[in-house]
């Protein structure tokens, strides 16, 4: 089966891509660039890095802009998936949805209308186990956004490793955060992963934060040999 992967460039969609590639043929990546930072559907910081990630993966990328208004962005997503069906003959869409019934419902509805398979390879997985899997599989993932107390500027740009997982799990127990950021508490950007043929090197970046809300913006980056 040929799949398109709904791809934000963060850890969940990249892990979903790896799992999809084990069981099917990944034909393209599909990215929505939302102008709305509060989007319920689409991860936003460093979304422009998806072009470099697609190049590193050697996969074509369908990238669509959306104003990010709640229902309109779903129409834009549907148009992007329809384009992937037409251009790359995909038969299904893989996502990195873990817990969000809001996201899963809407993607299922779109796939149902377009008569393509909807494949949620991480659905309901234990969040700590997912973080441990990306570390064990050698993913290089940095925190590119924090959006909840007590996370702050000090977390931005840091790589997720076993120590950070322990800290995130401790915070989840103390403050009720979702350890993998499933509730939008953190956003991530993948710089390297097993299927990347090259890795991403950050040349210029800046951290912008106010209190418990901030983003790590990659201003310039390039691909380098692994």
């Amino acid at each position: 089966m040929r799949l398109g992967v709904l791809f934000s460039g963060g850890k969940d969609s990249t892990l979903a891509l790896h799992k999809a590639a084990e069981k099917a043929e990944v034909a393209c990546l599909i990215t929505l660039v939302s102008e709305n930072k509060e989007s319920y559907m689409f991860h936003t910081p460093n979304i422009d890095v998806t072009a470099l990630q697609a190049e590193a993966l050697g996969l074509p990328l369908i990238k669509k802009a959306t104003a990010g208004k709640p229902e309109e962005e779903l129409k834009d997503l549907e148009a992007a998936i329809a384009q992937a069906v037409k251009d790359f003959e995909i038969e299904g869409v893989a996502t990195g949805a873990v817990e969000s019934v809001y996201q899963a419902t809407r993607i299922q509805q779109i796939c149902n209308r377009l008569d393509v398979w909807c494949v949620n390879l991480l659905w309901k997985r234990n969040q700590k186990a997912l973080l441990e899997e990306i570390v064990a599989e050698g993913f290089n993932v940095i925190i590119s956004g924090v959006f909840a107390y007590p996370l702050d500027r000090t977390w931005l740009g840091k790589q997720i490793d076993q120590d950070m997982i322990e800290k995130l799990v401790a915070l989840s127990e103390e403050y009720g955060l979702s350890p993998s950021g499933e509730g939008g508490e953190i956003e991530t950007t993948v710089l390297d992963a097993p299927l990347f043929k090259k890795k991403i090197e950050i040349l210029d970046s800046e951290a912008e934060a106010q209190g418990n809300s901030g983003v790590f913006r990659i201003k310039q980056a390039r691909l380098t040999e692994k």
């Binding site: 089966m1 019934v101 299922q108 509805q109 393509v116 659905w123 309901k124 234990n126």
Partner: protein
């Protein structure tokens, strides 16, 4: 030991991750589980299990609905069974039910219509189906949504079915099924 039956087509192996693993994680908190694909299950290899859960499947996967002969073991099954979504539909078809078009995708309000061991009153569930079961008279209806039958029980037997996916937002339904038959 619980047997969780994978109801997804062999051609769509990712159905296991989305529709089987989440049930196993809920069930294994209470009891050990073993997973078999529906094509591997027969009367002879059921003896080592205490109860059986039939998983759901992807929206586009309706493979078990056309293969009810593969589930004839259900006819003489004396063990407790819980069919989820495609699992419920398949159970219903084995006992002469029929399917009708009925789409519910997302959170859905469900009302209990008969007191039972799995749930009570009204509650919200995660639905993912294009078809609903119209059960035969061998079943009693335990719950309904505005559009269709959401839960059934075979009369005089411990064979249950829920059209919704309890592993998503109603884990207690699976837990109560397991605990009701220690």
């Amino acid at each position: 030991m619980i047997l969780v039956v994978n109801m997804n087509s062999t051609e769509t192996p990712f159905g296991f991750d989305e529709f089987v693993l989440p049930i196993v994680s809920v069930a294994e908190e209470l009891e050990k589980c073993d997973v078999k694909h529906y094509l591997e299950v027969n009367e002879k290899n059921l003896h080592c299990y205490d109860k059986i859960i039939l998983s759901g499947s992807a929206l586009k996967n309706t493979v078990t609905l056309n293969q009810t002969e593969r589930f004839k073991w259900l006819k003489d099954c004396s063990k407790p069974v819980l069919g989820i979504c495609a699992g419920m539909q398949t159970v219903g078809l084995v006992f002469s039910g029929r399917m009708e078009t009925c789409r519910e995708i997302g959170m859905t309000e469900v009302s209990t219509s008969k007191a039972n061991i799995l749930f009570s009153s009204s509650f919200k569930v995660y639905s993912l189906h294009n078809y609903a079961l119209v059960p035969s008279a061998e079943f009693e209806v335990l719950a309904e949504s505005a559009k269709c039958v959401q839960a059934i029980k075979r009369r005089q037997k411990d064979i249950y079915g829920v059209l919704f996916h309890p592993e998503v937002r109603n884990k207690e339904v699976i837990q109560r099924f397991i605990q009701a038959f220690p």
